[in-house]
């Protein structure tokens, strides 16, 4: 469904961020994109969403990501930003959730029905008419996920979905991600969360794919992870002495 074919990208000419990246993600897969800071994870997301333009080909459902296909591509992809404050710009959760459906030409009644369905599915009915500036960080993250799900995207992309959350809210977000039936691409340094939510992991280092395989296998490979400036997930490492 999502395919990168020899994709390269650089912000500055002599400092490539991504080098000749090729991979394919099938419909319904949950893929964790991991790597140290500066490995190129966010750039992969932004290229896929058409927020950056690089070399090579990126295909979503067989449609190439190009300026003239962006509307079609973006309709299929929902992106949850790392900072929910940057995602929620309307006064209330309800208005924020209505934003995308209305842009996709649904009537107000249809949009509202969709918003209600998503809120019910995520057990967030109590947030519907709350003001964005008055909800907690955890609630805001869940509301941000809800705004994206209200688009009914075919794939959900998430940038550090559990960052800055307490254990309780982190668990809620993890359970929500697990229950999604869409294709999921998640970038994170929280390898325990990746292990909990993803079947497959793509490990990036210096803009290259250094490993691509089952999460349960790759995330147990201490040597591979340490070589790429990461550590085993705590759940695998065991409790520290």
């Amino acid at each position: 469904m999502i395919e990168f074919q020899h994709v390269s990208f650089a912000y500055e000419k002599d400092r490539p961020v991504l080098r000749d990246l090729s991979f394919r993600i099938e419909k319904g897969e949950a893929v964790g994109l991991i790597g140290a800071n500066g490995a190129g994870k966010s750039s992969v997301m932004k290229l896929l969403l058409g927020l950056l333009q690089g070399e090579g080909k990126i295909l979503v459902d067989g449609v190439e990501v190009r300026k003239d296909t962006l509307a079609e591509i973006r309709r299929k992809l929902g992106f949850v930003l790392q900072n929910s404050d940057n995602q929620m710009f309307m006064p209330t959760v309800y208005e924020d959730m209505m934003f995308a459906p209305l842009n996709y030409m649904l009537t107000r009644e249809e949009a509202e029905a969709r918003v209600d369905a998503v809120l019910a599915r995520l057990h967030l009915e109590h947030l519907k008419h709350r003001y964005n500036h008055k909800i907690s960080g955890g609630e805001k993250r869940m509301a941000a996920i809800a705004t994206v799900l209200a688009m009914e995207p075919e794939a959900v992309l998430m940038d550090e979905p559990t960052s800055a959350l307490d254990p309780y809210n982190r668990r809620i977000v993890i359970n929500t991600i697990r229950e999604l039936d869409q294709t999921r691409i998640i970038t994170s340094h929280d390898l325990d969360m990746i292990l909990d939510t993803c079947d497959r992991v793509i490990l990036l280092s210096e803009g290259r794919i250094v490993a691509d395989g089952k999460a349960s296998v790759l995330l147990r490979d201490r040597e591979l992870l340490e070589r790429n400036r990461m550590e085993l997930p705590l759940s695998i490492m065991g409790r520290p002495e």
Partner: protein
């Protein structure tokens, strides 16, 4: 909470005030908008010495405060920063215009003093009318009304996004001010030597955040067309309400109510 965070909270409180329900809140946004503009124009049209004619104009804000369940103290609290500026506009008039226009007993009242009071009142009334418009009409409804009145889409979108981005910029300013004060304890304000870099950083950070927000909008299907609130179509009843409001303002403008009342009392 630092000053900036307070400002963000206050800005957000305006949205909450506007979301309340009352007879004034339920009026069509275009009615409130046109009435507010007409009120301001009529208020500004009074002569600089016509204090007696201007005073009855207070009836409109008083009426709105009554029917909107908004506390008048909230208004003055929110306007506390701009009110002194508006009041200061005519402060020097008494020094320039010393013609005695009337006497209160033995006390001479100069033209400068009268024009200062008139200017102050005009400013206060206009601010109150603007506040009441914002406090009883959500910004989305206001923008929808502007579109109904055929104001160009570009201008309306600009207004709405500016309103939203003010919060973003203030948010960044709050974080930066906190970071500064944590490393400059005991210092009041930002030292002049840091102003340049502070403003530069603020601009860069605000631009970054604005870019992220805009990306988030684009990724959710935004295509230069905002779906404002779903307001009712403009009906005959609304046109009548506007006509009534403007009629009242014109009566207040042309009939010297203070004099009429004075004559009745004297008689």
């Amino acid at each position: 909470m630092n000053k900036m965070q307070k400002a963000i909270t206050e800005l957000a409180e305006m949205d909450e005030l506007a979301a309340q329900s009352s007879p004034v809140h339920s009026l069509h946004p275009a009615v409130k908008l046109i009435a507010a503009v007409a009120y301001i124009l009529v208020t500004l049209s009074f002569d600089k010495y016509d204090l007696g004619g201007l005073v009855p104009m207070v009836l409109w804000p008083v009426l709105l405060f009554q029917f909107s369940d908004i506390d008048v103290r909230t208004c003055f609290y929110k306007l506390r920063i701009v009110l002194p500026l508006v009041m200061a506009v005519g402060l020097f008039n008494p020094f320039f215009d010393k013609t005695v226009l009337l006497r209160l007993g033995n006390l001479p009242v100069t033209g400068g003093f009268l024009s200062m009071l008139t200017l102050m009142l005009k400013g206060v009334f206009c601010l109150m009318a603007s506040f009441l418009l914002m406090a009883t009409t959500p910004i989305d409804n206001l923008c929808a009304a502007l579109r109904q009145l055929h104001v160009p889409k570009m201008l309306v979108t600009l207004l709405l996004l500016t309103y939203r981005y003010v919060g973003v910029m203030t948010d960044e300013l709050a974080v930066m001010t906190d970071a500064y004060h944590l490393r400059a304890p005991g210092q009041k304000g930002i030292h002049i030597s840091a102003w340049g870099s502070f403003l530069g950083q603020l601009l860069l950070r605000s631009m970054d955040r604005a870019q992220e927000l805009y990306s988030s909008m684009l990724l959710r299907g935004y295509h230069q067309h905002f779906h404002y609130a779903d307001i009712k179509p403009f009906r005959k009843r609304d046109a009548v309400t506007i006509a009534l409001c403007i009629g009242c303002f014109l009566v207040l403008r042309s009939v010297r109510i203070a004099e009429v009342l004075g004559r009745i009392v004297v008689r």
